[in-house]
Each structure stands twice: as C-alpha cells, then as structure tokens.
C-alpha cells in the first residue's frame, strides 16, 4: 500500500479513495502507454487512460476534479482491452466505473456526456419497472431525456417490419422483487437527476 496522497489543504486524494473502493492502486502504473495504444476511443478522449492514472498519481490541487470532470471516463466502452494488456495488471475499467459513480456523487459529470448518461439512466428505468429491458420504452425515455426526437426514425420502421420490436413491455413475475433490489442498491446509486446527493 502506498503512502496517502495529501492535497494542499490536507484532504486525502482521490487515489486513496480509488484504492479503498476498488482495491486497485493507481501507483502500479508506470506510464508505458499500452492502454492508450489499444483503447478504441482514445482519439476521442480528453484524457487518455494512462493520463487519468497520472493525474491520480500526482494528486495536485485540481487534478482530482479534472479526472472526475473528464469526458473520458464516460466514453470508456469497458471493452477491457487496456486491463488485458496492462503489464502491471491495473484494472482500469474497474477504476473507471468507480470514477463515474464518484463523478455523479459530486455532481461533476462532464456536460458532453449527457446523452450517454441519459441512455444508461433510461435503460435502468425500464429494468426497474419490468425486470427486463423493453427496447421501445428505453428509446422513448431516452428521446424525452435528450430531445433527440428524430434520431433513428428511419431505423425503427425497419425493425418493426422485421418483427424485431415489441410494442408492449414484458413484466416478469418477480418485478416487485427487482424493484426492491433497486431500492436497496439506491444508497450507492448516482442518479444524474439528483446531483450532489450524498449516499
């Protein structure tokens, strides 16, 4: 275990919070750049995966916020290419998942990630309601959240014609149990529409 990274004001930095929550130490990274080289979306990211780890390692004032406010953490596809190739076996996707949740808890989620967040939130809404994904419900909720009413209007009729869309949702018998699971997990949840809510 590494020495805690102290900020100028004496607060413990994000690197230690990452390790406490995920068991992953960012200090294992020696900046070889293999993760960036293999990351399919690195070219669209504001911070490459190894740069995220570098900022966490340094822990200077403002750096934690830069990480939590980055677009990168939301772009990550969790394809796990980086962690599979990492010579130090740093589980970057695991760290990234935690950073996303921390970013939400602190209300720092990048504005450009709005659609991505809206999709994930809409997805979980439909599961909470019926226990299984209802694609029509998901897309409708997503459009209402993002005002992207015209997206995929050409795709939907094709799906319908090929018998691939169910208009009515399927509700599993244990849907009440699933709802309870959501409620119990909600203390850790980070609903983007309730920014700043502490667990």
């Amino acid at each position: 275990m590494s020495a805690p990274v102290k900020h100028a004001d004496g607060a413990v930095g994000l690197a230690d919070a990452v390790e406490a929550a995920t068991g992953e130490s960012v200090f294992n990274c020696y900046q070889c750049g293999k993760c960036m080289a293999g990351c399919p979306l690195a070219e669209e990211m504001d911070l490459a995966p190894n740069q995220v780890l570098r900022l966490l390692q340094l822990g200077q004032p403002g750096m934690d916020e830069e990480v939590l406010g980055s677009l990168s953490i939301w772009l990550c596809l969790t394809c796990e290419q980086c962690s599979t190739r990492c010579p130090q076996e740093v589980d970057i996707p695991k760290i990234t998942d935690w950073l996303r949740q921390e970013s939400q808890r602190r209300g720092l989620a990048n504005k450009k990630a709005k659609a991505i967040l809206a999709f994930h939130t809409s997805f979980l809404d439909t599961i909470r309601r019926g226990g299984r994904l209802h694609e029509v419900g998901l897309i409708t909720t997503f459009k209402l959240r993002t005002w992207r009413f015209f997206q995929d209007v050409l795709v939907a009729p094709k799906l319908l014609a090929r018998g691939k869309l169910s208009i009515l949702p399927h509700r599993i018998e244990g849907h009440a149990g699933v709802k309870r699971i959501f409620d119990r997990c909600a203390t850790e949840a980070a609903d983007p529409e309730h920014k700043g809510n502490q667990p």
Binding site: P40, L77, T78, T84, H120, L133, G174, G177, C185, A186
Partner: protein, 301 residues
C-alpha cells in the same frame, strides 16, 4: 441432453433471430434448453456504469434462480450478458463479505453451483458431432468476429488465445466454412454507445467491416447481439463513416450469427433461422455440396 438457458433481453427483441437460430440448432442436436424461470435483465453497461452493487445484484438474482431450478450449467448467448453473469459469479465466489451483502439484497441464497457458458463453449463441446449433421456445407470465406467479452477479461475468458482466438473459427470450419485471418477479431465495435454516440460506433465498426472485406470475407460471423446490431443495423452509419471511395465495397457484406451459419449447414431453411430479419440482406445460400466437403479443414493459401 438438457442444459440451462438464459436468453437475455436482446434475444427477445431486436436480436430474436439469434434466439431462433439457437433453438433450431439445439433441436437438430437433440439438446433441450431449460430456460431459467423468471430471469431478469443482467443490468448491462448501464448498471456497472452507474451502480456497482446493482451490477452484481441483478445477475445474482438470475444465478440464484438457476440454482433453485437445479441447473448445473447455463448457456448465455449474448456476450455482454455472459460477461455480467460470469463476472458476478467470479466476483462473489472470491469475496465472501460481498456475497453476503448481495444475497441479503436479493433475499435469496446463492452458492455458485451454476456454471455459465457462452455459445462457443457450448457448441465446441459437440463440435465433433457437427459434421455428421451437415447436409449443406457452408462453403464461404468468413471473418469470425469475437469482439470484447468472449476473450476478456482473462479471468473469465472462454477462449484460450486472448489476442487471436480460434474457437469460433473451429466451429465454422466444422460446418464447411473457411475462416480467414484478419486483424479485427477482438477489436471493440462500440457496444453500448450505439444509441447515445452512434458516430463513434460507426467509426469503430467501419474499420471492422472494411478489414473483413479487404481480406476477402464473404460474410462476418458473430456471437453477440450488440456486435450484430452495430455491424448490421448500423450499416448506413458505417457507410457514412467510410471514405467515399470505399463505401460500395463494404455495403453488402452480411453479418450472421454463428448459430445461423451452423443451422444453414444443417439444412435448416432461411426463415426459421431468422435470416429475413437482418438489415443487410443475406444473399448467401449454403454452397452446393460440390464446393466444400464438410470434413475439409484446410484453407486455400
């Protein structure tokens, strides 16, 4: 033979041809698929992105139901569901405190008795029997596309060679197809950003489709509904992302589920395999028997 089965949400909706073709192939092989009673969504990317405990609890409920039903093994055809179910099982089996926490949340017992298999693991067990069922060898050059979750993470990997897996190649070869060597077997298609960031997905998927075409594939074969959606349904977006000169060449290459390829070779007709449901029309028919004897495994090079 009887084996547990978890279809997952996509297979009941936009990827129902995957389910149809799995059922057809299982019927020919005489395998009964026992669906987990009242299964729920695995939570997918959304859950692990937004809520770690939920991402474990949702798959745990399904795994507990499988265990209650006395299923030793469950086939999970969607790679993303497979990753979530197998990953949850792995994480809970290695952390007793977490297992306790999650079983409290789902109000069910769970001991980890049910193993999770993907479609390649399942079919490769009977790969020796496949040539015996082949009546119309699939005599085409194909690019086997594995994507992310059949080879990663290492702890769960169903394929032995992480960077250049061969399990799907073995399967299609057993039914008369000729798998090509290519560079994008395990590159990500963009997966869960398909709706929220279609342009990014199109850019990644364009490279996959183009490489398959450039190396002479007549079809791309997949084992995941997300991969299929991005390579097939998103083809118009892929074409828009392609360099203008390269569009016509990549417009027509169809994307088939591995179970559709196996089913065609078994002589099942197009409709029961759901081949009419694709966005990019599947114009390949099973090749005439003269083209490729089922037993032949060698490539042409």
């Amino acid at each position: 033979m009887r084996i547990g089965f978890f279809p997952g949400c996509s297979l009941e909706g936009s990827s129902r041809e995957y389910l149809e073709s799995i059922r057809e192939v299982a019927a020919v092989l005489g395998i009964e698929l026992a669906e987990i009673p009242d299964w729920n969504c695995c939570g997918a990317t959304a859950a692990h992105t937004l809520n770690h405990r939920l991402a474990l609890a949702l798959p745990a409920r399904t795994l507990a139901l499988a265990e209650q039903a006395g299923l030793d093994e469950v086939v999970v055809p969607c790679s993303a569901c497979y990753n979530r179910l197998a990953g949850t099982r792995h994480e809970l089996l290695h952390d007793e405190a977490l297992r306790q926490q999650i079983t409290d949340i789902i109000e069910m017992n769970w001991h980890g008795a049910t193993r999770v298999l993907n479609v390649l693991e399942w079919l490769n067990r009977v790969v020796g029997e496949l040539p015996g069922h082949v009546s119309a060898p699939f005599g085409h050059r194909v690019a086997c596309y594995y994507g992310c979750y059949l080879t990663r993470p290492k702890a769960l990997a169903a394929c032995r060679r992480i960077e250049d897996p061969t399990e799907m190649d073995d399967l299609v070869r057993a039914v008369g197809a000729e798998p090509i060597r290519w560079a994008y077997k395990v590159e990500c298609c963009g997966a869960g950003l398909s709706v929220s960031r279609t342009e990014s997905v199109a850019r990644l998927s364009e490279r996959i489709v183009s490489d398959a075409v450039e190396r002479g594939a007549e079809a791309i074969v997949v084992a995941c509904p997300m991969c299929h959606t991005n390579l097939d349904l998103r083809r118009d977006a892929i074409l828009a992302a392609a360099p203008p000169g390269g569009r016509s060449r990549i417009a027509g290459i169809p994307v088939l589920y591995v179970t559709q390829v196996v089913g065609l070779a078994m002589g099942v007709s197009l409709r029961p395999l759901g081949l009419h449901r694709h966005h990019v029309p599947v114009r390949l028919s099973a090749a005439p028997p003269s083209v490729a004897p089922a037993a032949a495994g060698e490539g042409e090079e």
